[in-house]
């Protein structure tokens, strides 16, 4: 699905990367533990996290992920947003919690990037 579909399904606000909503999202990954995400490549994945740290952005870049969605209505501060812009990483925020966010996306066909199921 496209990032614009993710935005719609999660009723998300686009914090940065308005111009990148046509990016293809190949699968999902969700965690507040960055090292759990870095077990292997997450090329093309959407990252769902409640961790509003600069390292959520870094982890997405390093892991080859295409966008970051902050769950539970969390919003990153200005420094994190400008860091994301610098690295051309789109950032969204949704009011849904992690469980709801994953469920909504999975139900619409966005599978786990890792197991592809």
């Amino acid at each position: 699905m496209k990032l614009s579909d993710v935005k719609m399904i999660l009723k998300a606000e686009v914090i940065s990367g308005d111009d990148k909503l046509d990016i293809e999202v190949k699968g999902g990954a969700a965690s507040d533990l960055m090292s759990d995400l870095l077990n292997k490549s997450k090329e093309g994945a959407l990252l769902l996290t409640g961790l509003t740290s600069i390292h959520a952005i870094n982890t997405a870049v390093i892991g080859g992920m295409v966008a970051v969605v902050f769950v539970r209505g969390k919003k990153p501060d200005k420094a994190i947003v400008s860091h994301a812009r610098k690295h051309k990483m789109p950032v969204l925020s949704t009011r849904f919690n992690m469980y709801q966010s994953c469920g909504r996306l999975y139900g619409k066909g966005l599978k786990s990037i890792e197991w592809n199921s």
Binding site: L38, N39, K40, H55, I62
Partner: protein, 140 residues
């Protein structure tokens, strides 16, 4: 042609932590390496760099790339590792709460490096810092 890069790592500087790894990632991308190798090498570089920052050492992260392969090395003057086998065990950590609040210190750093590198060597002694060497083969 050989490409060599080197970046400083500052103890407890969580704001700039990862910048060296990001630069290495950009360099590998510009060199036109395959995506899987770039991902694996970036993960190893980032985890190793975060380890130095988290455990309070100053250090250096370097890469050298030529037609025979890619080598990423991280050296620091931090507290060193008491028991390397234990440190390589998934879930084992000595990181503090501050680090865990940033999504690290879950005891996955070194196991992630082992998983994503082709050859991994680690040299460390308590009180004498650590030296990590990660090698990656380049498919012809």
């Amino acid at each position: 042609m050989e490409i060599i890069k080197e970046f400083k790592i500052q103890a407890k500087d969580f704001i700039h932590a990862g910048e060296g790894s990001m630069e290495i990632r950009n360099t590998l991308k510009s060199a036109g390496l395959e995506a899987d190798l770039i991902q694996r090498a970036s993960i190893c570089a980032y985890e190793a760099e975060m380890n130095v920052v988290m455990h309070g050492g100053n250090g250096i992260i370097s890469m050298s790339l030529d037609e025979t392969g890619l080598v990423i090395e991280v050296m620091d003057d931090g507290p060193g590792i008491d028991d390397i086998n234990l440190a390589l065990t998934e879930g084992y950590t000595t990181a503090g709460v501050e680090v865990q609040q940033m999504g690290f210190g879950a005891g996955m750093g070194l196991p992630n490096i082992v998983r994503n590198s082709d050859i991994f060597n680690i040299y460390s002694q308590k009180g004498k810092g650590a030296h990590l060497k990660m090698r990656f083969r380049i498919k012809k």
